[in-house]
């Protein structure tokens, strides 16, 4: 079981959360980026071996959205929201 740090509730079981997808990079400037850059932005999902930046929703708890850095090898949360309790 993963304990996810919620900024409102503190550490809670992952079963109270819904995965909200990876944090994507900023939208590129359409006047500057090329086709390859657009395809990468639109279709490439970050899937590193190691820390990945993710959105989670505390859907069965307080309803807050948060982002964490989770290590895909160990499920360790290497960095939580800055104001997590």
């Amino acid at each position: 079981m993963m304990l996810i740090p919620c900024p409102f509730c503190g550490n809670r079981s992952e079963s109270e959360f819904a995965y909200g997808g990876p944090v994507k990079p900023d939208r590129p400037d359409s006047h500057v980026t090329d086709d390859e850059g657009w395809v990468a932005f639109l279709t490439t999902v970050p899937n590193p071996v190691g820390p990945v930046h993710e959105h989670w929703w505390h859907v069965k708890g307080c309803g807050a959205w948060l982002t964490i850095w989770r290590d895909t090898r160990t499920h360790d949360i290497v960095e939580g929201p800055p104001d997590a309790g």
């Binding site: 900024p7 409102f8 509730c9 809670r12 079981s13 109270e16 069965k60 708890g61 307080c62 807050a64």
Partner: protein, 166 residues
């Protein structure tokens, strides 16, 4: 294994869902109607038979006996509330169960991942969590806990609790 516990389905409470900044809610409702805002997250404050539960960021539940629903509705005026606040009467949306007895915490732990030890979940604690897979509001009461689930899952939760007690 059987548990030294019992449960009862409680009658409906008057319940209002409040959202917005504290200052905006006080300005609209008036401080005299509210028992005061809890200082911490997932805590409640009670006064004059009314409980105010801090259940999320800028999110509270105001609860009282069902006899006081009309009085509270008149004071809160949900349909006239300004854009800065949201007030919704949700009295009939929850089914509440009171679980009491020596093993009440053990019984709750079957379906709830919350740390229910007094150090983590004291007398004034109240929190949304999950119970048998459904979103649920859990609070302490005399001799145990009260669990509220969405009304449509009430019968299912009652069935689960009955089976857990066998």
């Amino acid at each position: 294994m059987s548990y030294d516990a019992a449960f009862a389905r409680l009658p409906v409470n008057a319940c209002f869902d409040l959202k917005g900044a504290e200052s905006a809610l006080v300005e609209w409702i008036g401080a005299e109607m509210l028992p005061g805002f809890p200082a911490d997250a997932n805590r409640c404050r009670k006064a004059n038979g009314v409980s105010l539960d801090h259940v999320g960021p800028r999110h509270w539940l105001l609860q009282a006996d069902i006899d006081r629903e009309d009085e509270l509705n008149g004071a809160l005026r949900p349909h006239e509330a300004p854009a800065e606040v949201s007030i919704v009467r949700i009295s009939d949306t929850m089914a509440t169960f009171r679980i009491t007895g020596t093993d009440a915490a053990h019984m709750l732990a079957i379906g709830c991942p919350l740390d229910l030890h007094e150090a983590a979940f004291p007398e004034d604690a109240v929190s949304f969590t999950e119970f048998f897979g459904q979103k649920a509001l859990v609070r302490r009461c005399v001799g145990g806990f009260e669990v509220s689930v969405e009304q449509s899952f009430g019968d299912m939760t009652e069935d689960y609790l009955t089976r857990a007690l066998r």
